[in-house]
Amino acid sequence: MNFSVLILEISVAILALLLLVIDLSMEEDQPRRNIGYLAACGLAVIFFFSFTRYGINATFWHGMFSLDDYAVFFKQAFLIGAILVILFSLDTVDRLPHSRAEFYALLLFAVVGMMVLSSANDLITLYVGIELMTFSFFILVGYVLSDTRSTEAAIKYLVLASAASAVMLYGMSLIYGLSGQMGYAAIATGLTASPALLVGGALLLSGFAFKIAAPPFHMWAPDVYEGAPVPVTAMLAMGSKAAGFAAMIRVFTNVFPATGYPWALLALLLSGASMLVGNIVAIPQTNIKRMLAYSSIAQAGYIMTGLVAGTAAGVKGMMFYLMIYVFANVGAFGVVAAVSKHRNGENITDLAGLARQAPMLAVAMTVSLLSMAGIPPLAGFMGKFFLFSAVIDAGYLSIAVLGFVLSMVSVYYYLNVVKSMYLAEPIDDRPFEAGLSLKFTVLFAMVATVAMGVYPGPLSHLAEVAAK
């Protein structure tokens, strides 16, 4: 037993508990900004500390919970995402009528769940990790009780996620029944071909497809993204998705390869469906969060091509893409958070004239959206390069062509946002207010997006090491 393997998760959990304790010592109506800063700083410390975890490759108790480079990379993605989201959510949280410190704590719980997921090497840990993350999100999504849309989103998320969990659990039970084991490595040796494996695998895949919102398992995502508070949506879009991928890659590369299960084909179908549905339905959207929800469905489609390739290069591409997607996402949602706070609206038209009132935010939004679309020299282009060259290398040219073309189609709806920001007249003359930390976050995300597009070397190298 090796608790040092858990040190990152434990640190985050302790940090969360610390926040709760400090909250108890504060007056009810005192602002909780400091708690937010504390959470961000704590996470930052943990983030920097996590660099020392590379190259350890240790497991907790005979391979049940694995801290390899792969896991560390994902944990870092969650941590950096959480730091940035916390920083830009300070203003949003301050406007909550109650339980502001708990917001940060729950966010950290969700991060712990994701981190557990990325290390999960057995079905039980996988399940519990998913549920820890999902539970935190149930509450976070429904956090704004004054807005029943938020509650509605939470209920939808709860019901559908539970149903998906049930389906996934049924699949897990079948796999357990066939192999008699819970650990991935043991399962892989114990599996035999049978209808139960087929059904179990399909149910498991459905569960993952739900988490990464791949059509037709995506239908919860737009509603939930729209209803949730902006920072939560951001965290859902990147963290929940990335964690889903982290777990999925591990399951599909560790459990199934030897069985001849045609998972590349399934991934291909899901990937194609995600790209198509995400990009096409995003076109007519008017609510920016909803548009971003569909966009994130499309992003998941691109990322899944790495799974189609199924090679180390493909996995590397996925990891690279997920990391840069964090920054693009933070940039976009950060601006949405600012606009939502300032103008009380989340429609694309509410961004009108942003380029004149807050040019920095407009540029950041543009850069983030274009990065998602894969326009060079932004990071998204490099991400697509790694993904699609891997998938072409594996012999699936068609999905790469589809991906490239649809990602260019996506420019259409991204540019509609850009057009609104640059062309339309501002809807009011009030000077645009945005918190310093939000501006910093957004700027940081933008710089990171550009930097990783222009000089992707280090991150690419890191992802490559982690993918092995």
């Binding site: 399940y127 519990v128 509450i139 209920i155 019901v159 149903a163 029944g177 084991q181 043991a186 729209e226």
Partner: protein, 102 residues
């Protein structure tokens, strides 16, 4: 002689009933109850496998315990949310919870 398959079939039937409830009940609380049925069917599976086939028998029961714990928490949160929406809209009818769409 009752064997593994019997339990598995009961479990499948229970899963199907739960699923039917999930899809067709109009009351949110009934929907939550249906989900519990589905989770129970999974538990039956796990315990049955642990009893009849598993090399790692205790893992199945451990898993079941985790599921029970999570399910209990889920009901708590689910009811809290149901109450919240009831407060906001005066209804827990699932088909009226459709403000978010398109």
């Amino acid at each position: 002689m009752i064997g593994l398959s019997h339990y598995l079939l009961v479990s499948a039937a229970l899963f199907g009933l739960g699923l039917f409830g999930l899809l067709t009940k109009r009351n949110l609380i009934a929907v939550l109850m249906s989900i519990e049925l589905m989770l129970n069917s999974v538990n039956i599976n796990l315990v049955a496998f642990s009893r009849y086939t598993a090399a790692d028998a205790s893992a199945g029961q451990v898993f079941s315990l985790f599921i029970i714990a999570v399910a209990a928490a889920e009901v708590a949160v689910g009811l809290a949310l149901a109450y919240a929406i009831y407060r906001g809209r005066g209804t827990v009818s699932v088909d009226e919870i459709d403000w978010l769409k398109w």
